[in-house]
């Protein structure tokens, strides 16, 4: 049972739906306010020895216990003068009725009980061709229209009167694959994971900062350049210097170990990293060739001459 979708006065984008167990599917993309038919909830008005609605709500299950069929119910209590209005409703049943009416959960803006919204009605409110809402000594109920002498259009009534402040919160997600408890458990697990990994992340971040500081300290203590490219360049330059020095020592050793005949000696000797110059006093000028051959094994001879039994030779290291 439903009203055709009409815009409510409150908002041009919100439609008003009277939702009954037998409401048929409809097509709408608009936001909707729902007024629940008395067929979707149980109502009692009681005088209770409690002060507030929250205390009254605690008593509601026992008060409805013998009245309503077995099932899972949510309860609501409202203070109304000296008495309390108590409601019992089955979330799953309401969710099913909403689903049958072709409505999506995110379309629904507010849900109200007909009990609250029809309180001011002094006539029966015709909801469709067969039924009307009637105020029977303060209790709104749904009756066949044929028993009612005078009625007014419920749609018109609802448009003329503002909605009450009594919105209801209903768990409408009854049709999900897992029930709410399981969902909440999974959400809790996800939150626990978030916190665990947040903690791990923060610790890891600290560790990261620490190793970066260590890296900085290493650079400082060894006076290393900032980039790995520069570091490679520095190592290459130092290795090259070491290689040149070791090579020079090797050349010097070879020069000192030149095989000379008895009475022959080096008169003058000049060596640097790249080249050398020698003046060797010979006994026999022919021995110059032998010395030259020895020198050619580790260097390139650039000039070699024998003058007055002195062998003048110079060369470069490759």
């Amino acid at each position: 049972m439903k009203f055709p979708i009409k815009q409510s006065k409150k908002s041009t984008k919100t439609a008003l739906i009277f939702l009954d167990k037998n409401s048929k599917a409809m097509q709408s993309e608009k936001k909707v306010d729902i007024i629940l038919s008395p067929s979707l909830y149980w109502f009692r008005e009681e005088l209770l020895p409690v002060k507030g609605a929250s205390q009254a709500k605690k008593l509601a299950p026992s008060l409805f216990d013998a009245v309503i069929p077995e099932g899972t119910y949510s309860y609501l209590a409202q203070k109304n003068g000296d008495t309390f209005w108590l409601f019992a409703f089955n979330d799953a049943e309401i969710a099913k009725a909403i689903s049958n009416a072709g409505l999506r959960v995110n379309q629904i803006q507010n849900i109200y009980f007909a009990q609250n919204e029809c309180e001011k009605a002094d006539k029966a409110l015709k909801v469709n061709e067969n039924f009307a809402l009637v105020n029977n000594e303060g209790t709104i109920s749904l009756l066949p229209l044929r028993y009612i002498a005078e009625s007014m259009d419920a749609q018109t009534f609802f448009e003329m009167h503002k909605r009450s402040k009594h919105k209801i919160s209903i768990n409408l997600f009854q049709n999900t694959l897992v029930d709410e408890k399981q969902l909440n458990r999974l959400i809790a697990i996800a939150i626990v994971f978030i916190f665990i990994y947040l903690g791990a992340y923060l610790m890891q971040q600290q560790q990261f900062k620490k190793v970066l500081t260590q890296q900085h300290a290493l650079n400082e203590s060894y006076q290393l350049p900032q980039t790995s490219f520069q570091l490679k360049g520095l190592i290459k330059a130092l290795e090259s210097k070491q290689k040149r020095q070791l090579s020079l020592r090797s050349h010097l050793k070879k020069l000192f170990k030149l095989s000379l005949k008895k009475g022959e000696y080096i008169k003058k000797f000049d060596v640097n990293i790249k080249k050398y110059t020698l003046e060797i006093v010979l006994k026999d000028a022919k021995h110059a060739e032998g010395i030259k051959t020895q020198l050619q094994k580790s260097s390139k001879i650039t000039s070699a001459k024998v003058k007055k039994k002195i062998f003048y030779v110079s060369g470069t290291y490759e």
Binding site: A190, Y201, N272
Partner: protein, 135 residues
């Protein structure tokens, strides 16, 4: 109704949890990479330090050269020691061939940068040795 579908909530928190797992793992990788870099840097640093100590440490190099020159058998032979524009110049005179051999053994085994070495045999068979070192 402004209720949020718990499935969306679950999806949201699961996404956040997965994001946190990803971020943590990412941070772990970054840290491991920097630790590895530090190990390499430590090795490179020690290697550079050794090379610098050997070949690019002016104070230490001069100390090593002076230590050889200060040996009893060479001390009296040193006629010149001078430093100019990063070059340390030394001159030893009247070295016997035995002394020359010993001096060469000592100085060539030291970690000092030799720039130049000159020998001149004197008429009395002694040797004048001139060396230049890069400091």
């Amino acid at each position: 109704m402004n209720n949020i579908n718990p499935l969306y909530l679950l999806l949201f928190f699961t996404s956040v949890a997965l994001f946190m797992i990803y971020q943590t793992s990412n941070m772990e990788k970054k840290t491991a990479y920097v630790i590895q870099q530090n190990t390499t840097l430590e090795k490179s640093g020690q290697y550079v330090k050794t090379l610098k100590d050997r070949w690019k440490n002016p104070k230490e190099s001069q100390k090593r050269i002076d230590a050889v020159l200060a040996l009893r058998e060479f001390k009296a032979k040193v006629t010149q020691k001078s430093y100019k524009k990063g070059i340390y110049h030394i001159e030893l005179k009247e070295l016997s061939s035995l002394q020359l051999d010993k001096f060469n053994n000592k100085i060539l085994n030291e970690s000092v940068s030799i720039k130049k070495m000159s020998l001149l045999r004197n008429a009395d068979k002694t040797v004048t040795l001139i060396m230049e070192f890069i400091l």
